[in-house]
Amino acid sequence: MANEKPIIKLENLTYFYPNSKTPAIENINLAIYEREFVTITGPSGGGKSTLCRIFNGIIPHFYGGKLEGRAIVNGIDVKSSSVSELSRVVGLVFQNPVNQIVNLTVEEEIAFGLENLMFPSHVIEERISWVLEILNIKHLRNRLTYTLSGGELQKVALASILALKPKVLVLDEVTANMDPYSAREFLKLLRDIWHEIEITIILVEHRLSEVLQYANRLILLNKIIIADGLPREILKSDLLEKMGIEVPPVTLFSKKLGVKPLPLNVKEAIRVFREWLPRK
């Protein structure tokens, strides 16, 4: 992956919200490559959402403020580009799907973005069928959006973004309002999509228990990048605990006991402990 060109490249990036004297993120250097599945975590107020907003240009174009350094997305400089140009490359899904959904039916909702980008109607039809199929929500096609559950709404929000076939999918705490079961289903769905289509996924999450098993890279952000690497390597350190990030209980427990290799979820822990227990 390292010899490929990055799809996102941030160089000495610092951003101040309007009227703010302290930067929301500071001197960020980061390259994200095509087909990566990156999880970004960090404490509240650590700049996670700010970073997401820069990826598709709503910072600085809608928010204003002061953006220093360079942000290059798919070869385009964010500062001299526009949100509409960037949104063809980067699809952003937010925490609260209600704020994102504007149409009466699921079909209309998915068509909306495509229509805005002036796709011909046969392509729109194709994309709608395709996205309903890969997200396994064909049964929702004619449903009224206001009758959907939170988990279903979030899938529809995701569908309307995926229908635009962005190269990069950015999800900002999308499972925050879901119950754990729905959150797990949603994250599994994301993993399936990542396997099925050519897409780079950037997932902002603080529920690490569920996501660590999918990510091939974990970034810990607290205004600056504190750590960037393989999830297991970062969990071996105490950085997450120090930042007040919730570490999966089985991982924490295994660390205390010095169990190796460090398990990241219950399944791994059972396997590792079975080996480890009789020897002690």
Binding site: P43, S44, G45, S149, G150, G151, A176, N177, M178, D179, P180, Y181, S182, R184, H206, S209, G244, I245, E246, P248, P249, V250, L252, F253, K256, L257, N265, V266, K267, A269, I270, F273, R274, L277, P278, K280
Partner: protein
Amino acid sequence: MVTKEIIKIENLWYTYSNGYTALKGINLKIYRREFIAIVGANGSGKTTLIKHLNGLLKPSKGRVIVFGMDTRTTSVARLARHVGVVFQNPLNQFFEETVEKEVAFALKNFGKKSDSNKISDILKNLGIEHLRYNSPFEASLGEQRRIALASVLIYEPDVIVLDEPTAGLDYKAKINLLKILKELLAKDKTVLVVSHDIEFLAKAPLTRIIVLNSGNLVFDGLPIEAFYNIPLMYSSKLIPPQIPALIIGLNLQKYATPLNEEEAYETFRFLIKKVLIDGHR
């Protein structure tokens, strides 16, 4: 110690005006000094249930008795003196221009004198003293939740009900919340928490867990019984806490039933010894 029954829910049914039946014959008794978690998937009826405790909703059938008062014939204001509810979205309950006024409002509302020292203490305890003269609308979500909690704690209701109190809180804030809840219990308060945050609940000194599934009460018992009952957890669309899942996966639950990593660590030496003696694998 005789614990007093303070809330009694009898055959409670509730149907919304759109015809959706959210609660189907709930029976439940709550005693003083209990720390109860109400869990269940989205749409299982948790929030509908707690809205009956201060009379915001009235039963379609059955009845709810709160400190001897039937909620069908008692005003919300009267019930709220005993049962303070902190809802998930704090913005819906704010209307004052400063945090101090917001918190003082409850005192005024219940005919009590505004007490500057008391407000200071509560804000300090919740770590939001620096916001005292700021607008509650400008605070972060985590701070807004604490402001909402402060405006309930200030008038000292007997029962404190919190709807998804850990949503949007980071780990440090969750641990602080747990500390605050423990202090309330030490002051003889009764605490009810509606939460999806199973790992948070696995750390809390709960006396009981109530599991709702599609408007039915499907479990009422000890945390250990609920968290070590994997079929119950999955059939109620819940994910069991990791430590019980690990212990069950290793088939060690007959030796110890820890709920969180601290308990697991404490019992582990004992567990290892047992495993060696029994030749357990």
